[in-house]
Symmetry: C2
Subunit: 374 residues, 2 copies
């Protein structure tokens, strides 16, 4: 009998766990939100992940529960744990990925470097923060933000008035200083329930329009001290928040050399996709190993440079079917990963990885292949 | 709508096509011989591949048919082609993998170096061949041989008397000279219907008890001339036999430096498993690209040395579940591939790949991991 890992959510992250699950002999089962989702091949159930009975039925047939996303409500997670289900990451860790105010408070306790921040319950509190930080700040809804949504740069508290109007009594918004960063980095790290950690090299992520566009691994020009600092931040957070599975820490690097924590994700993350083809152990395999409490794999890069380019969908009328041949023809070296999604402008429908000794070469190989999807 | 590739046969080769199919956005469907086979995850039908109507029903819902094995009868294959189904490799190529006498005759026409051989219809003809080749020879049943079965070394024609008794009238056995080889090599090559070829470096295969035990890529100590010769043999056979998909050519290397063709396989082959983790494009991805007539991928090795160690099952009572953690713990560098099979002594239940700059190191990493399954 194989170990059964149940993944809640049928998106591309669940899809990309299928390959390493097959390799390791793990029986992967997916609770998908709908028919025909990215992880359709492994979908054994379709239902609402917010409904306890749906999730409970799904969990009854697996040995470990993990996730494609961080949106399963705390009460559902806690009921599973009370049922004796192995849930990784568990609710005590996931709450810090679900609530940015809780996350900022916990990172402050852990003395992790991060932007100045405040919990602001009304416009006056927000204005006070802005006044103390050069008149500008980043306002975030504590819950439900994703890829630039739920995030707004303001230079006057009035610009967040609509959000304050929606904040429930007793609740608040998060405001952070607008960090004058020179670039964004990301640190991937895996942690098993037994405590074993495995860190990947820190990478550079290039955002376009608030969405991750390209990743370069390792981050070019990062010196040993900064690489060690990023890894240390990852380790402190993984241990301090009790993360199990993959943790991605999105980081700002400032002109004066500081590294500050921007966001967290407790799952395989876009910034770690390069590792599928660029590291001895890809992040999807590592996530499965970690949540199943199996020995972690080596994280060493296979080549000097690895890159990942996201594929954003072009017009829907031209399907992926016609574009894959062009992408493969554009570079015999690049690795194309598709998500089984209907293209539409701006929608992430796949990514391309490439790895090699020369960064410019691998970047142009991967970009040429990704461009075929535009 | 995704391209639909149907694989006939539900064994480990079909299983290992699942991961690259997901990546490339190919809708992979498997006609399995039984429930619970290695490729269960993608099995959309269960039935007898020798039954035309079963295969026809399966083929009706896919764009391309390919195979996990070479045992689908010619009449079934030809009926599919007559129906207009894209079958790769097609019957005109597959017949040479299905009948060793046809294969030897065709390779003779193509002037490919191979052992002396003869079609022998009775003991007298066999004895004449043995007398002319130092008194010994390798007798093979033309059809149905696999991994040492259907192959017998004889020093007297009487030793093949039982086989001759079973040969239908008008049919014959194959006899080949016993080649004094110093080692065995294998050449992998992919060919698209449109004719594009992509060759992998020639590898060394180490057999134990007639079964492939270890593969080293590239073959240690092969000079450029021999590597080019092996590749040329692969190209001549792929073109000459009209192979589509992966072709594996098993080769003997003799003390006097000759390279002779031993056997052919028209599918991903055990001797090419190293490429999953050791080459830019693994043989299972390459096979899918080739049969779908997609541009082929780069075959360059990722590291100086790649190795593959087969995992043979130990006692059935201890399942794979307990052994995977030990195998992963034995080497964080090795890549474990399981086949979803119940172990029994001598049964191939998986393999381990490793790649790196030092051959001794990767061999010991892979062997340590594989040993955990014994």
């Amino acid at each position: 009998m194989a170990l059964r890992v149940g993944v809640i959510g049928g998106g591309q992250l669940a899809r990309m766990m299928i390959a390493p699950a097959v390799e390791l002999g793990i029986d992967i089962r997916v609770l998908a939100e709908d028919e025909g989702m990215s992880a359709q091949l492994a979908a054994t159930a379709v239902g609402d992940y917010r409904d306890l009975e749906t999730v409970r039925r799904f969990a009854a047939d697996v040995d470990v529960i993990t996730f494609d996303h961080e949106h399963v409500p705390q009460e559902v997670l806690r009921a599973l744990v009370a049922d004796g289900v192995r849930v990784h990451p568990g609710p005590d860790a996931l709450r810090f990925a679900q609530d940015k105010l809780d996350m900022r408070a916990r990172l402050t306790e852990l003395d992790v470097p991060q932007p100045d921040w405040a919990r602001v319950a009304d416009a006056a509190q927000l204005q006070a923060f802005l006044d103390a930080h050069g008149g500008r700040g980043v306002v975030k809804t504590p819950r439900g933000g994703y890829d630039g949504k739920g995030v707004r740069v303001v230079s006057d508290a009035a610009e967040a008035a609509d959000w304050f109007a929606d904040v429930p009594a007793g609740d608040a918004l998060l405001v952070e200083e607008l960090v004058p960063f020179v670039r964004e980095l990301a640190q991937q790290i895996a942690r098993r329930p037994s405590g074993e950690l495995a860190a990947y090299p820190v990478v550079e992520t290039v955002q376009k329009d608030g969405v991750c566009a390209e990743v370069i691994a390792p981050a070019p020009g990062v010196d040993a001290e900064h690489a060690a600092q990023a890894e240390r931040i990852g380790r402190v957070i993984a241990d301090g928040l009790g993360v199990t599975g993959m943790l991605a820490v999105e980081l700002f690097q400032t002109a004066d050399g500081r590294i500050l924590v921007n966001e967290l994700a407790m799952r395989p993350h876009n910034s770690g996709h390069w590792s599928q083809d660029g590291a001895v152990t890809g992040q999807f395999e590592q996530h499965l190993r970690a949540v199943a409490d199996l020995p972690l794999g080596e994280t060493t890069p296979l080549k000097d440079w690895s890159v990942m380019i996201n594929i954003l969908g072009g017009p829907a009328e031209a399907g992926m079917l016609d574009r894959v041949p062009a992408a493969l023809a554009a570079s015999p070296h690049a690795k194309v990963h598709t998500y089984g999604k209907t293209p539409r402008p701006g929608r992430k429908v796949g990514h391309v990885n490439a790895a090699g000794a020369d960064l410019d070469t691998v970047l142009s190989q991967a970009r040429a292949s990704a461009a075929a999807f535009a």
